[in-house]
Structures are given as C-alpha cells and as structure tokens.
Amino acid sequence: MTYKPGSVAIVGAAETTELGKLPDISQLQLHADAALNAMADCGLRPADIDGIATAREVPTELAHYLGIVPKWVDGTSVGGCSFMIHVRHACAAIEAGLCNTVLITHGESGRSQIGRPVQGVGPSTQEGQFQMPYGPLGPPTMFTIPVLRYLKTYGVGIEKVANVGVVQRKWAGFHPRASFRDPITIDDVLNSRMIAWPFRLLMCCLVTDGGGALILTKADRASSFPTKPVYIQGIGESVETSLISQMEDFTSSRAFRVAGRTAFENAGITHKDVDHLMIYDAFAHLPIYGLEDLGFCGRGEAGDFMWDGNTAPGATGSNALPLNTNGGGLSYMHSGMYGMYALQESVRQMRGTSPAQVEGAELSVCHGVGGMFAASGTVVMSSRPA
C-alpha cells in the first residue's frame, strides 16, 4: 500500500506576519504567529485542529501553547526538511483516519536568537569524537566539504556554483518579502568575503527570523474551505548520515535520490510533467546536486543547465524549469530550517498567487535537505484534483 495521489490537500498556508530581523518575537511565538495566520487563511480555529507536527520545538509545547488537543502528533526533527517529512506523515495519518486536520508549524529565531532552545553537540557523540576536534564551525564549514570533489570529478568550475546565487537573486527581485532583491553578478559572488574556500559569502544562505505553517486535510473536504486546495500527489523521505565524512558519494546525496525517486514514483509523474521546482538551497551547490539527484540533469550537467538560463525568470522552451522562484535560502530568507519556506512558495505557485508566478503551473516539486546532506524529503503538489 502506498499513499493515494491527490487524496490529501493543503487548505491553509501562511508565513509569519513578518520575515527578517525580528528581535521582538520569540521562537515559540514565531511558530504561533505562522499557525494563526494559516488558520486564518482557511477559516479554522485551534479547536478544529486534531493533529500537530513540528520540528526542534517539541509538539507538546506547541499544542499546549496554541490550545490544541491533538489525536495525532509528529515530532520528526531531522533538520530543515522535517516539514516535507511531516507532510508525508500527515498524509499517511489522514488517509488512515488517525486524524482529520493537521497543523504543521515552523518558527525560528535564527538571527535574533530569542527564546531559542539550547543546541549543542556532546563530546562523546559520534560528531563530538570524529568531527568537532577538527574545528568545523557550523554548516558553512561542513555542508560545503563535498564540493571540491564534485568539481574535480566532473571538471566543473566554481563559477557554475556562483551562478546559482545570481540566478536566484533574479527570482527574489519579484518578491517584496525577500531579504535581498538587488541583482548581483558572478563577479559580485566571486569577490564577496571568503567564508570557507571555495565558498564565499554570496554562496551561503542568509540568516533571518521567521516561520510558516501548513494545514492539511482530506481532499474530499477541501472544497469546504475558502482557499484553493493544493493537492499532495506524491511524497518521499530518507536519511543518510549525520557525519559529512561518511556520505556514501561526495558528488551525490543518497537521501536526495531515495526521497526524490519515492516521491516521483508515488505521484506517477515524469520530469517533463514538472512545471515548477523548489530545491532547498542552504548553499549554492544544493540546487546543482538536487537537479542531478532528482534526475532533471545528468551527472555533472546541472551547473551548465543553470548557466544556460533554464531555471531563470523568462526561460522558454522544452528545457525551461523555473527553480527556487522565491529566491531561495540564498536571497528570500533562511531561518535555519528553510524547508517550510520552500513549501510555502510551492503552495503559492499552485494557488497562482506567487509574486513570481509561473504562468499555468499545475505541478510543483518541493525538495528539501536536512542537516548536511543528512536527510531529505520531497513533496509533489498539484493544483488539480486527482
């Protein structure tokens, strides 16, 4: 048995009232603000919600804070793609009749660090023993490590990675809520501050505060809501390793391949069916890995595919594939667990309400990463009922 494509729909979706630098709101309240906005979006109150999922914060805290009495709970917390995975688990739960209406929340005071739970690595964990002694300082020094191997394997130049930020900035220009909207050039990227060679500042995501929430229910109930339903067509998930050194292949993510293939097979779609694509971009190489691991491009070819403008605004022809149309984590916003914002842009595209709307888009693939190539979740959405 697998998930029946189109049987669950997103009926409520919203981001926090504000995105950016928000020192006057706690992380917990960012969750709540997004949740209240999503409930308002579809005309629900907390009493109407009977399932809740969230990451990093435990669902217990959110349920009580929001006044929700859940019959179904999911606290899967595997990094920024947790929300894609929550969508999958919620679909299974709704289909199985475990609950009717699921709220998925994200809130993160990534920049202002207000009300943020203590995070850290213990010295006797695997990470503490085999990674931390060598001086990594967060994702910019670990997520980026496989890239030199990728570039050498396929004879790709770093300008192809830099170009990802340039293309995505063009998309961000359409979005009034994007953090960075002014166009940039390859030279701007390659002359920005060195963070961890070969990665410079404009190849790294920004760090902001914000949140987002989704509300899902059975597709056959969707017509009773005021919003245009967005149907879940297929979903996949996987995890690989918490240690970047132990990735099976430095030029490809196993978790990406497993989650992506599962979602495509579940949805019964081919690549040509896809009108719109989101690939979680904590760093500029991720859309390149994602395009290849999802099967849109051959090995080593995604950099050229983007260089040729196929993912940029205004692309036409059979290769046109609008990608990261909110500007991505590199330009739109990135609180730390960006997956929720990628999902929000896919929902906007399927509703026809994105400021960077892809004309006639009916099928969107939203692909997330968690940790540093540690986890992945893929959601296929459709604007049309099954």
Binding site: P123, G128, P133, Y134, G135, L137, T141, R149, S245
Partner: protein, 136 residues
C-alpha cells in the same frame, strides 16, 4: 592542564579501542567478518550486515586527500585559515581530519595527494589522528 583550547573528544565504551590505539600511535579500524569490508566510525557490529562478527585491525596509515574546505572563521583554539579535510584510506573508509605540516592553501592542498597519519597528544588519554603529506 595543558593550554589546548580545541575540542577534546570523549570516548564511549564502543570507541574506547580506537582512542586507546591512537594513544599508542596506531590507527585502528574494524572489519566485517562476513564481507571482509572495513568500516568507520567504530561500532561493535557490521554496518553492512548487522553481524557482530567483527574484528579490529591496524590501518596502513596511508591515505589521500579526498575533499576539503579552508575555513576562514576559526573555531575555538584554531588559527584561520585552516583546512577541514576528508581523507580517503586505501582500506575503504573516510574520516575527517586537519592536514598538518602543510601550507593551508588551495595550491598546497591538491586533491588526491598522498597523506600519512600522525598523532597529536592532547592529554594522557587522548591523542588525535591527523594527516600530513606523505614522506614529508
């Protein structure tokens, strides 16, 4: 206590033999008895088959530079810029390391260059495996 400011690993019962080996200047890996394949990090069973039929053996101490970044924002105790690298061992496993006795530049750090293991004594219990250009 020494003036060592960097992160100091703390062994678990399952990794104790690895760190004991490092203290004695020996890089110890494990091998799956069913498949003959080596694995890392340490654990008392095979990640390939789930079998507890595993053995400990000493690695050759040779390797090659597989991939890296050069970090420009130092972690505590480090002086930037420094490479955070992955070494590929001929035994078939990879591990994170720093590259010592070598300039920390893209020119000096050539992918696939041969490396050899060395150990830095941190305290009476822990010596950290590091890698340097082979035959240096």
């Amino acid at each position: 206590m020494s003036d060592y400011q960097k992160w100091i690993p703390v062994p678990t019962p399952e990794t104790r033999h690895f760190w004991d080996g490092c203290r004695e200047g020996r890089l110890l890996l494990q091998r799956c008895g069913d498949t003959g394949r080596a694995y890392f990090p340490p654990r008392p069973f095979s990640p390939y088959t789930g079998s507890r039929n595993v053995s400990v053996f000493e690695a050759s101490g040779r390797g090659t530079l597989y991939s890296y970044v050069i970090n420009h924002r130092p972690a505590k105790g480090f002086e930037a810029p420094y490479a955070i690298a992955i070494v590929q061992l001929p035994e078939g496993v990879r591990m994170m390391t720093n590259i010592v006795e070598c300039e920390q530049t893209p020119e000096a750090l050539e992918l696939d260059m041969p490396l050899e293991v060395c150990f830095e004594k941190i305290d009476d219990d822990i010596s950290l495996p590091l890698w340097r250009p082979a035959g240096g």
